[in-house]
Amino acid sequence: MRLGTGPRLLSCPELRTYDTRLPAQRRHLSVSLMCLRDLLAQELRLGIHFYRMSSHLIPMPDAADPTAALRQMEECRGLLRCLGEEVKRTDIRLTVHPMLQVQLGSRDPRLVRQGLAAAETWARVMEGMGLGPEARVVVHVGGGAAPSALDAFAENSELLSDQARDRLAIENDDRAHSLDDVLRLSARVGMPVVFDYLHWRCTGRGGSGLEEALAAAFETWPDGVRPKVHFSSPSTGRAGRPPRLGEHGDYLDPFAFEDFLAAMPRRVVADVMLEAKAKDLALLKLRRDLDGRLDRRRTSLEAAYA
């Protein structure tokens, strides 16, 4: 089992990642890729082999210059290949979560076009790096709570190239689309489900327990591809401000995580993306919290569940 975090690493705030949406931070794709290389090196120093890339790392096709993103990607072919070799050599799993960019359940043609373009761009980046099928673009259904969003997602996903469709994975929401919804959608479109623990708690359990929910999500993953799940603990607010239900906490509840691990199907090894505001600091804290509680014959949390 790999525990993951990202995109920012709070243990080394000097390592930056540019947000290509902001004019002041717009850089050539190669600059962002070199920043990614440095961030991955820092992850390895911390013994972390699972990283969520920033969804704003790469320039997206836009109306002003629709070919700029493709042009830059072409200019970065050597760099992408070189970075991909390093990623494979060091056994890091890469994913991205462009939740605002890709909303295929929307009925707004502009949002759909934007989502299709973003999914294709990310798929091209992953292909350019030569990454295997564990590298995924994790998306929400999008399109609000309307049941028709699921139909829209299924229809719009038909417009994707095979390469892009094979990279997508669908995550259950904290409000609109429950685990049951995305499991049904997964059966229709053939995309695996990323189980999000906190969202599952927010939408109600749909009559099933955690073990059944995890098993159902894991069933959607192709043979030989390790499932991915999200785990987070709810925020308890800050300085008197009450949190929104489903808001991520700074750190992670180790006891809830123990229960989470205990509910995982025995025969399947999954990777867990930790969603905490303290990022890598939260991951390191969770490791410390749990390593001391494991059987002494086992050397570490991740090894125990490998």
Partner: protein
């Protein structure tokens, strides 16, 4: 005016030919296999070695980093197709115009310098190379004691004492 908060990678230039390339052609190379981590920087500053006579042992120039490429040495230096490392991969840093520092930063005590990671505000006020030391990652970890790697050491970045051996 450079961005005072910008990150700077200080790298070694130990031949006037390489400085000419930086100034006239706007690029600098670092072998992929031995590149520092972190490497991504807003600016590249250049430490001149003993080959620069009166100007030696000081950082005198910097340039903005525009973008990066990965290329084989033979693509970068087509006039040297038979070089032993002709097929090795290099990061090629594409640079903006070379700028002169108002106050050069001399090295009073270190002579073996490879990479130092720092910030532009430090570079602009430092009176000695030691003042550039930053805390980011390990890019400056070779700067004091590391011996050259066996069989490694591109002349552009290896400590000048071994220049004759690894050029």
């Amino acid at each position: 005016m450079p961005d005072p908060e910008g990150s700077v990678l200080v790298a070694v230039i130990n031949s006037p030919t390489d400085l000419t390339r930086v100034r006239d052609e706007g690029w600098y190379r670092i072998p992929v296999a031995r590149a520092p981590k972190p490497l991504a920087s807003d600016y590249l500053a250049l430490y001149l070695t003993a080959a620069f006579g009166e100007e030696r042992w000081a950082v005198r120039h910097y340039a903005e980093v525009y973008r990066y490429q990965v290329m084989e040495r033979a693509e970068l230096l087509p006039s040297q197709p038979d070089h032993p490392r002709a097929r090795e991969l290099y990061y090629c840093l594409r640079l903006g115009p070379l700028q002169l520092l108002e106050r050069p930063v001399p090295s009073r005590s270190w002579k073996r310098v490879t990479f130092i990671r720092t910030s532009m505000d430090r570079l602009l006020v430092a009176s000695d190379l030691r003042g550039l030391r930053a805390t980011v990652g390990s890019a400056d970890s070779r700067s004091r004691t590391s011996p050259p790697e066996p069989g490694g050491g591109e002349h552009q970045w290896s400590p000048e004492e071994w220049r004759g051996v690894y050029a």
